[in-house]
């Protein structure tokens, strides 16, 4: 198949939706920075160009080759996480590796790497249909989870786990087995919170702040005031948007004034303040369309690793979007998860577009495996 054939067969709707979200995100970043603010929008444009190039490269490479090389990717991803623990930089949490011209966040790249790894490992095996057979996929997931939590980056670590669950679910693992594991996971979550030393104090504070946000009494009030500052700023910004967006430039500036992370994890709040409920509805629609498009690729794919790739990317985006929007609106604890295509940051954008590239590759390389049964 020639390059031209591949480009013709590409799902341009998917790429178009991703670009649309990115462009809207850039406008939002520009608004968040204000007139004399930091050049977030311009820097994001530069990263978008780099990411698009990466997407096209990923699109042209047959995804089966990528999947086949999963041990290499996995080793590189884990190595990146180890390196960041040794020489990483950052305020509070150590998440970045300084490469001179730019900083790289290895945990962002671990997300697509895990999708590829699970697709590569699970595709031809049947062992995961037995309870004991779940151990290897779990081990493959828990290693990066543990390393990311050491940074510490609770949000990214928690994103990796749904990828595992949904990949196994889509591949045909028994829901009962997954349910048991989920219960064990919940127990582990409690242990994480209550056993001293496993969680950083600020992470606990975020969870406590979330739990206390609507609690009555003085304690709830004080926690809302002192610990849920970020969350409260976010809710105020979203509410300020009203139905059609903040009433005038001054009202918008007031809504996001002194709002930390309004360009990264909380960029959605900035968007909601700017464009109101109408804008939020359209954004959700665009997101849902993008996710549905990815899932349609998964449905059309006839080859297991292609299916798993598309399902993995779908899960990654769906969970990331829902967790991000949930935390900015006070539905979930603040855990530091970016909004794909929207949040400022090269690593996140590149990682998201690489995922799109993988899905596009599944679309343009409709491999049919003869002699190999379907998942079911």
């Amino acid at each position: 198949m020639t390059l031209s054939d591949r480009l013709q067969r590409a799902n341009w709707l998917l790429l178009g939706l991703a670009l649309l979200l990115t462009v809207v995100g850039i406008f939002t970043l520009s608004a968040a920075a204000g007139e004399d603010g930091p050049p977030w929008a311009w820097l994001q444009v530069r990263w978008t160009l780099v990411a698009l190039a990466g997407t096209l490269v990923a699109l042209t490479v047959p995804y089966k080759r990528v999947v086949a090389a999963f041990p290499l990717f996995y080793a590189a991803g884990v190595a990146g996480l180890v390196v960041v623990l040794l020489v990483g930089t950052g305020r509070g949490a150590v998440r970045w590796i300084d490469l001179g011209a730019f900083r790289m966040q290895p945990s962002e790249f671990m997300k697509p790497v895990l999708v590829v790894t699970l697709a590569g490992y699970v595709r031809y095996r049947q062992a995961y249909k037995r309870f004991a057979g779940l151990s290897i996929p779990f081990a493959l997931t828990l290693v990066p989870v543990a390393l990311v939590m050491r940074q510490p980056d609770l949000g990214t670590a928690l994103l990796l786990i749904p990828i595992l669950f949904v990949s196994l679910f889509a591949a045909g693992a028994k829901p009962g087995h997954l349910g048991l594991v989920t219960l064990a996971g919940i127990a582990a979550g409690f242990a994480l919170y209550f056993v001293p030393g496993l969680m950083e104090p600020y992470q606990k504070e975020r969870v406590t702040s979330f739990l206390a946000q609507d609690g009555g009494g003085e304690a709830g009030h004080i926690l809302r005031r002192q610990q849920g500052f970020q969350l409260e700023k976010s809710k105020v910004a979203i509410a300020s948007g009203g139905f059609l967006g903040a009433d005038g430039e001054e009202a918008f500036e007031d809504a996001i004034a002194g709002f930390p992370e309004r360009h990264t994890d909380f960029v959605f709040s900035t968007f909601a303040a700017r464009y109101g409920l109408v804008g939020v509805s359209l954004l959700l629609l665009a997101w849902f369309a993008l996710l549905a498009t990815i899932l349609s690729t998964a449905a059309k794919a006839r080859e297991p690793s292609g299916r798993l790739l598309a399902v993995g990317v779908f899960t990654l985006f769906a969970v990331q979007v829902l967790v991000n929007l949930g935390m900015t609106m006070g539905l979930l604890p603040v855990v530091g998860v970016t909004l794909p295509f929207f949040s400022y940051g090269g690593s996140s954008l590149l990682s998201s577009f690489l995922c799109i590239g993988l899905v596009l590759s599944v679309d343009v390389h409709p491999e049919i495996e003869l002699g190999v049964g379907d998942f079911d």
Binding site: G90, W287, V311, M329
Partner: protein
């Protein structure tokens, strides 16, 4: 379940999630929009409480005794001191601060916090940042007239103190069972405002430095601190503050008292009426009139001006505290203080010469207005009050007012307790006028013509000298007036315990003395006045009560009030220091007491002879040395409470002292001016007498007072 269905289920679950998110967005942006927008408005344009100026305390002539004054202070910020390693960007020259890489890292501090900066706002990247060498702080030290190196020493000490405090908090949190307290403390720690809040430096215990040198900064020091773009003095800040100033320094220290910073619990209790800048009165008038003096905070709201900048606007002006104007004058008090200190010697009971402590109070016998007040020891209200604060804390903890003998071992006795209102001691013979008045008022006869065969020495059981009380045979037959004049203990002991009166005295003397204020709290406008002590049941024969010893302890203010009664002939004034509070004149009601005129005349006659009878009056020598101006007269009584007697004071002070020298009474000038009542006490080792010490203090003061009145 088939693959297709699994995918459909995933899409359905995602759709449901999006539905929830949309619903929440609808709730926030439409349903509860106003609530959140108002909350945001409140946060963005915060209301800041502004402390009200505290009211002044003035004397009768308008001289300031206490006032608020804006100052610039030196503040130390531990967190900034710890991150004062400076890195300069080679491109733009901007200086960034990091933790000193060579300094030891406290637990919990990451190595990355001590690493060089990784980038600059101008776009420059590591590793080209230049580490600026540590500069000495000498220019600032010179401006503050501090020795070289003292600021660094101070900073190290403060950082160590802060770290210790954090450790103590953590330990307390771990060991506490109080959930609320734990939560509060944890919250404070998590907020990290412990390090962020500027902490004014109030004490520098360095050689040759005034202890309070940094409460007010010289202009040069402020300039250096404000114009410090390269962070040379990072860790120290010039902060504006309002200081409570006491221009009269140590004069009237116990009366004026002092106010200092509100504590966390107090602020919580005061609620909206306090800010962190609120000062709370700890002693004296500052404490008694605290609610009047404090005022209530105002509110500033930040609003946007035409250029879009947030500017403060007064939303609610603070209500300034009200002034308190006293009846006394600084001039009179300074005179009283001078005379009191002329006989007293500071240095505690260890000093071998002169009484170490005492007090003098002078009041208008008719109105109860306090006209002059002096005490020793004193402390500088305007200076370093660290020890005074410790004394106050100890007293609060003890919750009781003390006899002066509690300070026998102290080189500097507690100076925050008032020797006029709070320290009660045996009155000795100064109680005799009240004993005589009580006996006569209840219808008992007084042993006139009493034959005193010699000094009353019950401990020896013998009368070893003929004549009364060392005044010779001419006082062998004593009337009541004679007895008061020479202060015959034997006559007064006999007067209450002789056969025909003993039963009546036992029944009626204690209530009569109580009605004269003995053992009762004097309602004065100063905190925690002592009721003294009166337990006649400990001395059934009342012999010791009759001579003002044993179960009777009184304060000078109680005695001055009783003397006012003798002066007015039946009116008990309510003593008060403040004459006008918040512009409203104060006239506390006194009490009326029916006193037989004949009894009063006899007691007054005896008291007059105390001062004037040169052959036997116990204060006559003092008044002969310092005669009153022509026409001025004083009626008084000396007292020397020698309880217990004898012994070696230095070996066992409690077994031999201290003794208390009293001089109480009233006086009137020639021109029919005010009648003033007074009481003076001096607490000494086991030596001296009221007629020699307290009487001389009062005589000198009265002379000045009446000369001024004539003038």
């Amino acid at each position: 379940m088939r693959y297709g269905r699994r995918l459909a289920l995933l899409l359905l679950a995602t759709g449901a999630g999006f539905g929830v998110v949309l619903g929440r967005a609808f709730q926030l942006q439409v349903v509860s929009r106003e609530t959140w927008v108002s909350a945001g408005e409140e946060k963005r344009r915060p209301r800041v409480k502004v402390e009200a100026p505290r009211g002044r305390i003035l004397d009768a002539a308008g001289v300031v005794l206490a006032e608020d004054r804006p100052v610039v202070q030196l503040a130390f910020v531990g967190g900034e001191w710890e991150t004062r390693a400076r890195w300069r960007c080679p491109e733009c020259g901007h200086v960034q601060f990091r933790r000193d890489p060579e300094a030891p890292r406290p637990p919990g501090v990451r190595a990355s916090e001590a690493a060089p900066p990784s980038r600059c706002s101008c776009g420059t990247r590591t590793p080209r940042f230049e580490r600026l060498a540590d500069e000495d702080l000498q220019p600032l030290e010179r401006a503050l007239t501090l020795p070289a190196g003292s600021l660094k020493a101070l900073a190290s000490r403060r950082v160590a103190e802060l770290e210790r405090a954090v450790e103590q908090r953590v330990t307390r949190i771990a060991g506490s069972g109080d959930g609320d307290a734990v939560e509060r403390d944890l919250r404070t720690l998590l907020r990290q405002d412990f390090f962020a809040r500027p902490r004014p430096v109030t004490r520098l215990s360095l050689p040759g430095i005034d202890a309070v040198a940094l409460r007010e900064l010289p202009v040069e020091a402020v300039r250096l601190l404000e114009l410090d773009p390269r962070g040379r003095y990072r860790g120290f800040r010039a902060v504006s503050a309002v200081e409570r100033r006491y221009p009269q320094k140590a004069l009237l220290a116990q009366v004026i008292g002092f106010a200092n910073a509100v504590q966390r619990e107090e602020k919580e209790a005061l609620g909206e009426d306090a800010t962190w800048a609120t000062r709370v009165g700890r002693t004296g008038l500052e404490r008694y009139f605290d609610p009047v003096l404090r005022g209530s905070p105002g509110v500033i709201r930040y609003v946007r001006d035409e250029d879009g900048d947030l500017v403060p606007r007064a939303e609610e002006a603070p209500t300034p505290g009200k002034d308190v104007r006293l009846a006394l004058t600084v001039e009179a008090c300074r005179e009283a203080q001078k005379h009191l200190e002329s006989v007293a010697t500071p240095g505690g009971y260890g000093a071998r010469k002169g009484p170490p402590s005492g007090g003098l109070v002078v009041m208008d016998a008719e109105t109860g207005e306090i006209l002059a007040w002096a005490e020793t020891p004193v402390f500088d209200l305007d200076g370093d009050r660290e020890e005074a604060v410790r004394w106050v804390d100890e007293d609060e903890g003890r919750g009781a007012v003390d006899d002066d003998r509690d300070f026998l071992g102290d080189a500097v006795p507690n100076a925050t307790l008032s020797r006029v209102t709070q320290v009660a001691v045996e009155p000795g013979s100064s109680l005799k006028p009240l004993i005589a008045l009580s006996l006569l008022s209840m219808g008992a006869s007084f042993p006139d013509g009493f034959v005193c065969a010699g000094p009353w020495r019950p401990s020896r059981g013998v009368n070893d000298k003929p004549g009364c009380h060392e005044h010779g045979p001419e006082y062998a037959h004593l009337s009541l007036e004679d007895g008061l004049c020479v202060s015959c203990n034997r006559q007064f002991a006999y007067a209450v315990s002789r056969g025909d009166v003993a039963a009546l005295a036992r029944e009626r003397l204690p209530p009569a003395l109580r009605s004269l204020g003995i053992g009762r709290v004097v309602e004065i406008d100063l905190p925690r006045p002592s009721a003294g002590r009166f337990r006649p049941e400990d001395d059934p024969a009342l012999r010791n009560v009759a001579i003002g010893q044993g179960p009777v302890l009184v304060t000078p203010i109680q005695m001055a009030r009783a003397m006012a009664l003798l002066a007015t002939g039946g009116r008990f004034p309510a003593p008060h220091v403040a004459a006008v509070v918040g512009g409203v004149p104060r006239r506390p009601e006194g009490e009326a007491l029916s006193v037989p005129v004949a009894a009063l005349d006899r007691v007054r006659a005896g008291m007059l002879r105390v001062v004037t009878d040169r052959s036997g009056g116990t204060a006559a020598r003092a008044f002969a040395d310092t005669p009153l101006p022509t026409g001025a007269r004083a009626w008084a009584k000396t007292g020397t409470a020698q309880v217990p007697r004898g012994g070696d004071f230095d070996r066992d002070p409690l077994a031999s002292g201290p003794w208390h020298h009293w001089f109480v009474g009233f006086a009137r000038g020639a021109g029919g001016g005010r009648t003033i009542a007074f009481a003076a006490v001096l607490h000494a080792r086991n030596e001296g007498a009221g007629g020699d010490t307290a009487a001389r203090v009062v005589a000198r003061f009265l002379r000045w007072w009446f000369e001024r009145e004539i003038g």
